[in-house]
């Protein structure tokens, strides 16, 4: 009399075990998948060299300029012919194009409308209405970094 009662119980329990085992496996996958995806190296391997740190002084040529990403804003770092370092916001005050250093002019130049700034960031010709905002350049030993002017 007891065996027929036991039977459906057993089969139900097997089903339960099946579900349980399945969900344990699914759960393990759902936990491990994010972890392994996280560990897979992202396209850009490392957080970019910070906007503030530019590099070594010896790597920055005299009479040159480079655009540095400062947070979400571009900053232009200028090294003048006699070795001074200066940094300005690289967004042209006219229509916010990104400015560049022109060796032939010895000036900061905006390609969009030929705006020109001298190496103090002052707007000297073309449409820009205001000088470029200045950033502070800090040289610690050999390391050059840019920070906001307070």
């Amino acid at each position: 009399m007891e065996t027929p009662v036991q039977h459906p119980d057993e089969s139900r329990r097997d089903f339960l075990k099946f579900i349980l085992g399945g969900s344990v496996l699914a759960w393990i996958v759902s936990v491990l998948y994010p972890i392994f995806a996280y560990l897979k190296p992202p396209k850009q391997n490392e957080v970019e060299v910070s906007s503030v740190k530019v590099g070594l002084l010896k790597d920055i040529e005299k009479d040159s300029g480079q655009i540095v990403k400062f947070g979400t804003k571009p900053v232009i770092l200028i090294r003048t012919a006699n070795g001074d370092l200066r940094a300005f916001s690289a967004a042209c005050t006219h229509l916010e194009c990104t400015v560049q250093y022109r060796k032939d002019y010895g000036m900061i130049w905006c390609a969009c409308h030929n705006g020109k700034y001298d190496l103090n960031g002052r707007n000297v010709s073309g449409p820009p209405p205001r000088p470029l905002d200045e950033y502070r350049v800090v040289v610690q030993g050999e390391e050059v970094s840019i920070s906001k002017k307070s």
Partner: protein, 359 residues
């Protein structure tokens, strides 16, 4: 499948006598009574600790603990690394939930008088872990190097500096200098990922071994009941499986929180900027922070802030040493006085946290 598992089990058992452990756990019983639910908070806290260790190690793979890169690296984790947002949000949420569950665990132990003889060491190790947890929270808060964390750390360390004689050296020790700078970040980072976890693991091991050896504490009235009414359940598998169920629910809750309320990153800290309005510490420090505000600037000759810190220090010490001055409980008697103290502390913390929240 079964035979293979069995074989592996036997292989291990042969060498380390696993069966003893299983037998031990199977014989262990958890008392069942109307306050049984509180037993689960220890387990949940343990689970959250495991999550913290795992997510913490994962975050370490990409985090950079320097002034220039800390903020950017978290930004990088959140945007560039697959599931980075999930790992970081879970780590942050778990940190808060962890402190909450340990608080509940601590108060339940307190009200159940589970600290009474012979469990004084368990209580002490638990209390020390709780203080370490606060340390984890404090050190971890600065790591994203955002504006809010920067100023909260500044204020937090400043309060420590108010303590006479030892305050100033402690402040300089914590800040790694006079001010909160990149040096502070490196220092707190080191504490957060190496020093604190090391000590914590030792304490946790002690705590768990003691719990297993001594078993669950039973309430006073439970002992007085007739044997037939002393309901229990086996620790393994019944209690463990229930624990597991709860852990799963907690994990799901964390995932939901991480997806719908991702932990904000805020603005990068600028040491030269003026402090934003409404700087508040994390919620678990809020009641102390708020209390310090209510103490007058000078009480007799003592500085108000110093007095507050000393009072909190003394209160914390008394609280930690409760097994040693609560004679009645150790003798197995009711002690209403301790209950009142506990209730007062709970009310105080809730009230001042709310006040701090509203301020």
């Amino acid at each position: 499948m079964k035979p293979y598992l069995k074989k592996i089990y036997d292989w291990v058992d042969e060498r380390v006598e696993l069966q003893d452990l299983v037998n031990f756990m199977a014989k262990k019983y958890v008392p069942v009574h109307r306050h049984s639910i509180w037993y689960y908070f220890g387990g949940v806290s343990l689970f959250l600790f495991v999550i913290q260790v795992i997510t913490g190690i994962l975050l370490l793979m990409y985090y950079k603990g320097s002034e220039e890169l800390a903020f950017e690296s978290i930004q990088f984790i959140m945007s560039k690394v697959a599931f980075g947002w999930l790992i970081r949000s879970i780590h942050s949420w778990t940190a808060n939930l962890f402190i909450f569950t340990t608080l509940v665990h601590m108060f339940s132990v307190f009200f159940e008088r589970a600290y009474r003889k012979p469990r004084e060491i368990t209580w002490l190790s638990g209390m020390m872990m709780f203080f370490l947890l606060l340390g984890f929270g404090f050190t971890g808060y600065l790591l994203p190097w955002n504006e809010l964390a920067f100023f909260a750390t500044k204020v937090g360390t400043e309060i420590t500096g108010a303590v006479p004689v030892i305050g100033k050296p402690i402040l300089e020790f914590m800040r790694g200098g006079d001010n909160v700078t990149g040096a502070t970040l490196s220092r707190l980072f080191g504490f957060h990922v190496a020093v604190l976890p090391g000590i914590f693991t030792i304490l946790l091991g002690t705590h768990l071994i003691l719990v297993q050896r001594q078993g669950m504490s039973e309430p006073h009235e439970f002992k007085n009941k007739p044997h037939a009414e002393q309901k229990t359940m086996p620790f393994f598998p019944n209690f463990i499986l229930r624990d597991l169920t709860l852990w799963l629910i907690v994990l799901n809750l964390l995932a939901i929180l991480a997806v719908f309320f991702p932990w904000e990153l805020g603005k990068k800290a600028d040491p030269f900027a003026s402090a934003p309005a409404g700087i508040k510490p994390e919620w678990y420090f809020l009641f102390m922070f708020q209390s310090l505000k209510y103490i007058p600037a000078k009480v007799f000759v003592i500085d108000g802030e110093v007095l507050g810190i000393l009072l909190f220090g003394a209160a914390g010490l008394l609280w930690m040493l409760v097994p040693f001055w609560d004679y009645k409980s150790s003798r197995g008697e009711q002690s209403r006085f301790v209950t009142y103290i506990g209730l007062f502390v709970v009310m105080y913390i809730i009230l001042f946290t709310i006040l701090g929240w509203l301020a």
